[in-house]
Amino acid sequence: MRRAMRVYGWLLKLYPARFREEYEPALERQFQDEYRDVTSPGEAVRLWSGALWDLATSVPRQIFSEMTMDIRQGMRAYQRRSFSMTLAVIALALAIGASTGIFSVMNALLLRSLPFARPERLVELWLSPVNAFAGRTGFNSWWQHSAYLNEATTFSTSEMNLAANQEAWRVKGTESSANFFHVLGVDAIAGRTFAHDEEITGHNSVAVIGYGLWQQLFGGDPAAIGKTVHVNGQQFTVIGVMPANFNYPGKTQVWMPTIFDFEIIPHRGAFLIETIGRLRNEGAFRQAQEMFKAEALRKNPKAYDGNEAQNWPKLVSLQNQLAGPVRQQSWVLAGMALLVLLTACANVAQLVLSRATERSQELAVRAALGASRARLLQQLITEAVLLTTVSTVLGLGLAQWICRLATSIVPPELATQEYTIFDWRVFGFAAGLAILAGVVFGLSSAHLTARLQPAANSLRTQRAAPDAGLKRARAVLIVIQAAITLCLVTSSFALGHAFLKLLGTDLGFRTGNVVTLNVSLQGTTHSGKGEWAYYSNVLSRLRAMPEVEAASAVSYLPLANQIYMANSFKLDSGQSVARVVTNAVMPDYFGVMGTDFLSGHDFEQASGKDADQRVIVNETFARLSGLGRAIVGRHVLSPWRDASYVVEGVAKTARLNGPDNQGGPQIYFYIGEETPPVLTLVAKVRGDAAVGLAKCRDAVRGIDPQVPIYDVKTMDERLDDVLARPRFYVGATALLSLMTGLLAMVGIYGTTSYALEQRRREMGIRMAVGATPRRLRGMMIWESAQPLLVGVAGGMALAIFAGRFLEDLLVTVARPGFGTCLGGGAVLVGVGLLAAWQATSLVRRIDPMEALRSD
């Protein structure tokens, strides 16, 4: 009986405070009466199940009912301070919104599971010791005998021409080993994936298509299985359709099996063959890394020598690999958002302090009327959670906007990694923030209120005495806000400075009024011998247009996010230059791009007289060769065949990947009659570049509508794309630092004006004994400045420490130094003093007599 009563007593704790206080003894007594009537174990079971059912239904009802009451009361209390409450809600909404937005991105990249079976066991093998070049038997035998891999597969992704239903598209296609889908552990939603021997030449004219392509080409008709599509002119039979959330690797829309003999789809130019595997044991990732490294060293003892670390063989988790490009940046931004959240919380804490003082009287009255401490605590926590919940709901809107922005700037690798707030983890995170912040604010408010009314005589005192602890708490909050603000402001300044430098960087070519279009002749009627004729025709057509000043074509356009082919070149001097990006251009390319020649000249002047035996090198190549500009006229030996090329000119170095990337050594070959099937047409246009681009595209399409034209952009747009990411990071940091700055100012203003209000009587006395308003104001401002100065000192240290993380956002950033911090600190102190000066303007209006009477 006693044990049953004890258990029931614990269960009664589930009721909210007011109901429990009111009815707990009666409920206990009633249960005791009922339990006494129990005569058999069956009846006891019935009694307990009835009691539990009753609790399950009535507890939520009572919680809801009391919460509604508390919320109503909270709303009334907030209405009395609507201005400061609105500020607090906005501050929290911005901070929670920013944190949740960044969390959504991190959730998509790092937490949400990939559309693969047991993705934690999937790894990517960079520079795998054995890869597709070992041949089918060699590769399969390698992983079958591997100590750490259960299975491995290889694949290569590139853009391909896909034709079906008499239409042609440019799509991402992946050629892979037959076990590709088996390694990933995914299956087709219609049809099937590759059979074991379908990678073998002669059996491999089959393709699996993505869900999007299935909808686009066949309207989602299951009869698509067995239909044919043409990839780069070759016929493939569709055997399966993948699920909607599967587009690995890199947004692939069509998959084909191969043993990489390139018999069906010939490859020219640079391409990458990647290897992924499934680990034997889940928890043995580190062990697998060690074994991989040992194997790489066994196969090539110099694998880890000399090269830059990024070129070393490595085994990485597939999840980390897919999150790679924005993983580190997300962490840095999340850190910044956390700082903003802290500042916003400090602001709300200021408000809580003010409200606690104000409400101590009201709460004392309620306590005197019988409300228990638990009841008042529940009321204060509900009010605080109400505030943080409203802020969170508003913040979620901001978070979704951040997700959209992030998607446009750094699109995720996979469909399943879509950035969104509509995910249970994101909602959980936001709700967690709201509840945690609410409970902390509520508890601190209750704690402070208790401190302000420690004695039973609190009702009799007109006003609680100013508490030294509270004053200290306020000062600490200002210190925190100032330190965080300074850290973010200096970071923002450093990033902004670096970004402006980036904008002013000489790219080695001009982007204004240059338009670009990609064309691919793979699988069209022009492929093979017709390629040269097609390009000659297109260029003549373009050059004849009144809008076009000049036109040319290039294999690897700068700012186009391509994989470049690099080789080592030897000179007749015996000197050799390593990792030279190899490119091919048509005449007048440098003229169209506005690239200056430092020595020698373009192919144009050499054309007609063995132009295809000449090359142009860039400034970096000339410097690394040790010959400088004197390289013109010297011979460069071909790494592929027994031939040499005369250096015709030295062009300025083009920064191929954008302004934050140094352009390495480059060599340009002349595109003769042996034309690559994929080229980028470039044209310098007169007038509006967008109009010129549209006209050029129409002109090219007019020649043959069957040739896919894709990635049609002006060079300015390409530069914008390249700069989008740094611009976003710089903008986000600036916005976050502005937010913290504003919050800190509001905090300083609020604290100073509150302190003035609290010390009105003291000021009156001081004035009555002869102090001037000016002197009093100076005293108040100095008191506000003290925590500010301490915060600035802390902020300088924080900024210098945090500077190292800025490089993750923008490689070219210079860490904030002492001077930058000092400048930022001076600005912050100046603005802070201005806020304090404004807040103390009321000192002039204090009437000593009135101030003394008022208490």
């Binding site: 009111e22 009815y23 003894p25 009666a26 409920l27 009835g50 009691a51 059912w53 009753d54 609790l55």
Partner: protein, 120 residues
């Protein structure tokens, strides 16, 4: 008049609340007695759990339909944890209004269905 409007707004009363008012119309009761009496009156059809019972009592107290009684039985027979309740005049009028509402409903149903329901 204002009082009548106030009562109208409370209708229809929840079934448990109506039974509690009917029970308390007979005299003061403590919670457990009330629960047992209602179960008895309804042939066990309405068995209120303790939480539901005190939830309803709380609501009726807030609405002013019942009040807590100060009078308590002999201390030898009493447990101070027990709470005694009695109906207020507002409660009595609310119960009457609910009864009227139910009767009107029965009359309407009979007129619509064209026959008197058979009484057991």
């Amino acid at each position: 008049m204002a009082r009548t409007n106030e009562i109208e707004k409370m209708l229809p009363l929840p079934l448990a609340a109506f039974h509690m008012l009917l029970e308390l119309a007979d005299g003061e009761r403590h919670g457990y007695a009330l629960k047992r009496a209602i179960a008895l009156r309804t042939d066990g059809k309405l068995k209120l759990g303790s939480g539901a019972l005190y939830g309803s009592i709380d609501k009726l107290l807030l609405l002013g339909l019942i009040e807590e009684s100060e009078e308590r039985p002999d201390p030898h027979l009493d447990d101070e944890r027990r709470r005694y309740y009695r109906i207020t005049s507002l409660g009595r009028r609310a119960a009457e209004a609910e009864a009227r509402r139910l009767r009107d409903l029965v009359v309407l149903a009979e007129a619509q269905l064209g026959r008197r329901p058979k009484l057991a």
